[in-house]
């Protein structure tokens, strides 16, 4: 939470007065400028670190990095499984958990980055020495292929479907798929890169990096008391996103419930599903588009972010006032039988693309309770989105996100790998 909330009269009073998700008054968290711990009673509240450099608790019923307040930077990596030995992979997950437990606390991996045997490479690569924990969260997921490769196809949850081909998809297989994913979010990019690099190293021989993505500038927020961030098209995005404090909506749309599982997928209780999409933006044509058309495409104005015909960003949108192909109209839960995603996407730019065009866009990350009821219907509904002229989905992956690591004896995926079939 490094962004200083707006201090204008309007925004403060708006935050003070407008309720969220029917859960009562939002805390007036804006006042201090730094992050503030949220303590609303009756909610399953994620602890917010005392400052941007602090540590987020690694342990909990759900993995950190989902409803946790969105950090500024991302390093996301998808891995291919290199082993078919279940025990060997489970051991790697234990090693990863031990390393993640240390790194999220701001500590070096293993014996550290120096002071060990001079002839041997250190356990930790060292580039995060002296840096704060920076709210690092590490979130792990299992892709569809993992279950087949480890001979445990029966334990693949039904909700972990292979995504269908969507209209306009132009997927690069080298930026898609993966048997395992790691989402590293942090306020310091070096901390996030360090974490993925060390996990990749521990994983050599068991997993290999298939693709990875760096992100900056979160494009949606799970903390509504903060200013809604803007995407690279210059528009506020994620106004109606699920807040980390809204346990009712989290339970309804994000966390896998016991009722969703059977004997084979019981290990997913408390978990979630992640859809990752690399969405390339045609930046230059967009920048030549008239303001009117840009606002029509989104269905919001560019300055305030207010829906068509309304004054303020958070005014309830009147969807019928928007053009039929407006992005907000098509993506809104009301147009999708209530389907709601928890988004924590990031902007990315990987330099230029060789034709002098900005290689940039949105790395879309959305968590949901069931991919079939979440991302798929929404994305299908976006087939006629006017925005499609300016964006293209070029990478895609889906993962089952197991529940959290409960304590120091627990490890990522224990329920899956210990469960009796």
């Amino acid at each position: 939470m490094t962004e200083t909330p707006e201090k204008t009269e309007g925004s403060t009073s708006r935050r003070a007065l407008i309720g969220w998700g029917g859960a009562g008054l939002a805390l007036g968290a804006a006042a201090a400028g730094g992050a503030v711990a949220m303590t609303r009673s009756g909610d399953d509240v994620q602890t917010v670190a005392a400052d941007a450099g602090g540590a987020v608790d690694f342990h909990g019923g759900h993995q950190a990095g989902i409803s946790t307040p969105v950090q500024d930077r991302l390093h996301f990596a998808a891995f291919d499984l290199e082993t078919d030995d279940r025990a060997e992979f489970a051991q790697m997950l234990k090693d990863w958990t031990a390393a993640a437990r240390r790194m999220t606390a701001g500590l070096a991996v293993g014996e550290g980055a120096y002071g060990g045997l001079a002839e041997a490479p250190p356990d930790d690569t060292g580039e995060a020495l002296g840096l704060k924990p920076s709210r690092l969260t590490l979130t792990i997921g299992f892709g569809p292929g993992l279950f087949e490769k480890l001979g445990m196809a029966e334990r693949r949850p039904e909700a972990l479907v292979d995504l269908p081909q969507f209209s306009g998809d132009n997927l690069d297989k080298n930026r898609s798929g993966g048997d395992v994913c790691v989402q590293a979010c942090s306020d310091d990019p070096q901390v996030a890169v360090h974490a993925v690099r060390n996990l990749a190293r521990i994983g050599f021989g068991k997993v290999s990096v298939r693709w990875s993505q760096l992100g900056f500038g979160k494009t949606s927020s799970t903390t509504p008391e903060e200013q809604t961030p803007r995407n690279l098209l210059g528009f506020k995005d994620g106004t109606r996103n699920i807040a980390g404090t809204e346990s009712a909506r989290l339970n309804k749309f994000v966390w896998v419930d016991g009722a969703d599982t059977d004997g084979n997928s019981a290990w997913m209780e408390g978990g979630s599903y992640l859809v990752a999409r690399r969405i390339r933006m045609h930046i230059e044509p967009w920048d030549r588009t008239s303001l009117q058309e840009q606002e029509d495409i989104f269905g919001r104005d560019k300055g305030e972010g207010a829906p068509v015909g309304k004054a303020k960003e958070r005014d309830k949108p009147f969807l019928k006032a928007m053009k039929p192909d407006a992005h907000v109209r098509l993506a809104h839960p009301d147009s999708n039988h209530g389907a709601t995603l928890l988004r924590r996407g990031y902007s990315f730019t990987d330099g230029t693309d060789g034709l002098g065009r900005l290689e940039a866009g949105l790395f879309f990350l959305a968590y949901m309770r069931d991919v079939r009821k979440g991302f798929i219907p929404v994305q299908r509904n976006l087939a006629t989105d006017a925005l499609n002229e300016y964006i293209q989905h070029v990478g895609s992956a889906v993962f089952a996100i197991p529940p959290g690591v409960r304590d120091k004896d627990d490890w990522w995926g224990r329920a899956l790998f210990s469960q009796e079939a």
């Binding site: 291919d80 045997l117 001079a118 002839e119 041997a120 050599f204 021989g205 290999s208």
Partner: protein, 379 residues
């Protein structure tokens, strides 16, 4: 490749640090001062506080009192490097340690980091050689023999190649090219420890320093595959290649080899694969990268097998993992040759991106645990 050459040298330097960890040297002696040599470097002098000292753990306390950045080397009589420290700024102090046996050495300061430097001859006397596991001494001896055998076996193959070039026989030369390099590739870190041979025989076009002439295997590779003709100069270069390789063959037996330099040399062979072969840079004209690849892996495995009994005692899990990963990489490489006894590998330009990634992943899977071998050997 300079990076590799330096790291082998560093192995000798860090032997001292290791000795402290493993208790191989008498702990009291290094602190007693008789093995501490003060080196005072100026723009025109390189003064040493003593010219005779007991063999063993030696520490150089270097102070640069000159106006230029300098570097200090400890050299064997044949100019091989025992240890070195570069970039010592004016007015700064640096410490360098080394493990030296009895014998003559040269300490050299290079003000401005150029030229032959200002030299002082020094002598390490008597002293107690660091105590080592006799099995490790046997491993070093066996590896030394292996290195010599590789050089001995390379010469006739290199001569076949050179003769074909000199006869102007393009096809015969192409055929003899890759086999002539296998022995070199198997023992590259040792070959490269003789700093002046590698730049003459194995340099690539992009590795040339300003003013350096492009000679050796890869220059001839370019003529054969890219230029598709053999010039009079190429024939001269073929003779020079044999001369340089003969020098290597004569000197390779004197290389400084320790158990840890063997272990880290094995890892460096995999690094060679990771940086040069997997990318197709090494053999960019002939695309015989997989032959070098196999040679590097074989060399690493030979060094590993010699150290294995000791490593297995200290870290059995590591040995299990290394056996598994060596086997996996070798199995993968076998996919690229029809006959497991031949070095007739698929041309690397015919190996697609997905297969190259698979090779790269297998190299990482082996090289990461291999980097822990040195620790397992001296635990």
């Amino acid at each position: 490749m300079r990076a590799v050459r330096l790291s082998v040298v560093t192995a000798a330097a860090t032997a001292a640090a290791l000795a402290a960890v493993t208790g191989c040297t008498e702990k009291g002696s290094s602190g007693s001062g008789d093995r501490v040599i003060s080196v005072t470097a100026t723009d025109d002098k390189c003064e040493v506080s003593k010219k005779e000292f007991p063999a063993g753990h030696v520490e150089l306390d270097i102070e640069n009192k000159g106006s230029k950045v300098t570097e200090v080397y400890v050299l064997f009589p044949d100019d091989r490097i025992v240890t070195e420290r570069e970039n010592i700024g004016p007015g700064t102090k640096q410490k360098v340690t080394a493990e030296v046996k009895a014998g003559d050495y040269t300490i050299t300061c290079k003000p401005g980091m150029k030229g032959d430097g200002i030299r002082q001859t020094v002598k390490a006397t008597g002293g107690k050689a660091p105590k080592r596991d006799p099995r490790l001494d046997a491993a070093v001896a066996a590896y030394r023999k292996y290195v010599q055998e590789q050089a001995d076996a390379t010469l006739p193959l290199a001569r076949t190649f050179a003769e074909a070039v000199k006869a102007g026989d393009l096809e015969a030369a192409k055929k003899a090219y890759a086999p002539s390099r296998i022995g070199w590739e198997r023992t590259e870190p040792v070959a490269e420890s003789f700093g002046n041979i590698d730049p003459k025989v194995d340099v690539r076009a992009d590795g040339l320093e300003a003013g350096q002439k492009f000679t050796g295997w890869h220059r001839l590779e370019k003529s054969l595959w890219a230029d598709k003709k053999i010039t009079a100069e190429d024939k001269t270069l073929a003779d020079e290649l044999i001369t340089n390789l003969t020098g290597w063959q004569k000197r390779v037996g004197t290389a400084e080899i320790t158990p840890t330099s063997m272990a880290n040399g094995a890892k460096e062979l995999l690094d060679e694969v990771a940086t040069g072969k997997v990318t197709g840079e090494e053999e960019r004209y002939s695309h015989t990268d997989l032959v070098d690849f196999k040679g590097n892996v074989e060399g690493a495995q030979d060094a590993y097998e010699l150290l294995k009994p000791v490593a297995n005692e200290n870290d059995a899990a590591l040995v299990t993992e290394l056996d598994k990963q060596f086997a996996a990489l070798n199995t993968l490489l076998d996919k690229y040759r029809a006959d497991k006894n031949s070095y007739d590998f698929t041309s690397y330009d015919k190996v697609g991106d997905a297969d190259r990634k698979q090779l790269s992943d297998a190299v990482n899977a082996l090289a990461e645990p291999l980097s822990k071998l040195a620790a397992a050997v001296v635990k």
